[in-house]
């Protein structure tokens, strides 16, 4: 009666061969990034938490870099979804839509500082940044500005350059917030909205 079921058992102690380790490793690592607000976790600690030997993860990821890359890709998916979800349901003023998306971007970063840092870190290289999944996140911004240009809400300009400027601005705000440099003591109060407003003025036709 005390036979351990072959799979899936929250209370199962150690003695099973898992069957699902890849996902468990990924989720454990993600949880650690969330908790510690940094991606400097240890592969051995992940294995420890997952209850497997410290070499077991190597059956599912070539090395730590591969795990980091996978986490970063998931981050870009989550960012894209957060931006998409932020768009108002009913169409309204373009400025509101811009602010909603921009605030959602900054919010994603400040709520997931470790993950956001990882996504833009040098340690996840070129292939992550050029991946469909990360380009898709940038695509939300492209689409937003394209709509604004089409309705005349913002200046007509080369779309990619305009989107790059927006991206740089919200990215800069986000990273400064994350590193604690965008505090009232340094830059005055409500700096995020003020910066977003300045950016919006620059887009005006």
């Amino acid at each position: 009666m005390s036979d351990v079921p072959p799979k899936r058992r929250k209370t199962s102690a150690r003695p099973y061969h898992h069957g699902d380790l890849r996902r468990v490793v990924l989720e454990t690592a993600a949880a650690m990034v969330r908790e510690q607000k940094t991606w400097q976790f240890t592969l051995r600690e992940v294995a420890r938490r997952a209850g497997v030997s410290h070499t077991a993860p190597y059956n599912h990821f070539a090395d730590k870099g591969a795990l980091l890359a996978e986490l970063a890709m998931g981050g870009f998916d989550a960012l894209r979804m957060a931006l998409e979800a932020s768009r108002p349901k009913r169409p309204g003023a373009f400025r509101d839509e811009y602010f909603a998306v921009a605030r959602a971007y900054v919010r994603f970063g400040t709520e997931n500082p470790g993950l956001y840092r990882l996504m833009f870190s040098q340690d996840v290289g070129y292939d992550v940044h050029m991946s469909e999944r990360s380009v898709a996140a940038f695509g939300v911004m492209l689409e937003l500005l394209a709509r604004g240009q089409a309705t005349g809400a913002i200046k007509k300009a080369r779309l990619r350059a305009q989107a790059a400027a927006c991206w740089a601005a919200v990215h800069g705000i986000t990273t400064l917030c994350i590193e604690g440099l965008f505090e009232p003591a340094i830059v005055g109060k409500a700096p995020v909205d003020a910066a977003l407003a300045t950016l919006f003025e620059g887009l005006a036709p």
Copy 2:
């Protein structure tokens, strides 16, 4: 005749007690950050390069973090000086001055990627970011915008918030450049100047 002089000798092999190790460690670490474009150097490798035991640096720095903090502070000094040096000698159009300073900022980052990453990293904490030396760098931007407001070249607004917006924009451009995300393939050509121009429009009165 083959006596080793007590100090200062480029060719001196190992057998001396240095007398100047603190600066040598600092410079060696800085050189490694420059070469490797990252601040993930190893304290032991620094000591190796300096020709001392791997524990010798602990006589001059409490730990690796203290060395990183010192490097970062030096980086803020260098950034401030680069910005100050970029201002045109003879007074001209405010827009030119703005572009000169902004370009100098981005240039500093792209030419010193490892150092710039370190300066804004979480691993040099609050005390570095709140230090006089780093606040002084931000001061160059404050002063620039104050002058612009005074001459009516840009919109009158809360100075610190306006400077924060500028800082976020140039910081965002810089980090995206450093991580290789501001390449023509992704964001179109001449994205830096385009982004700086968009920012400038947002400052217009």
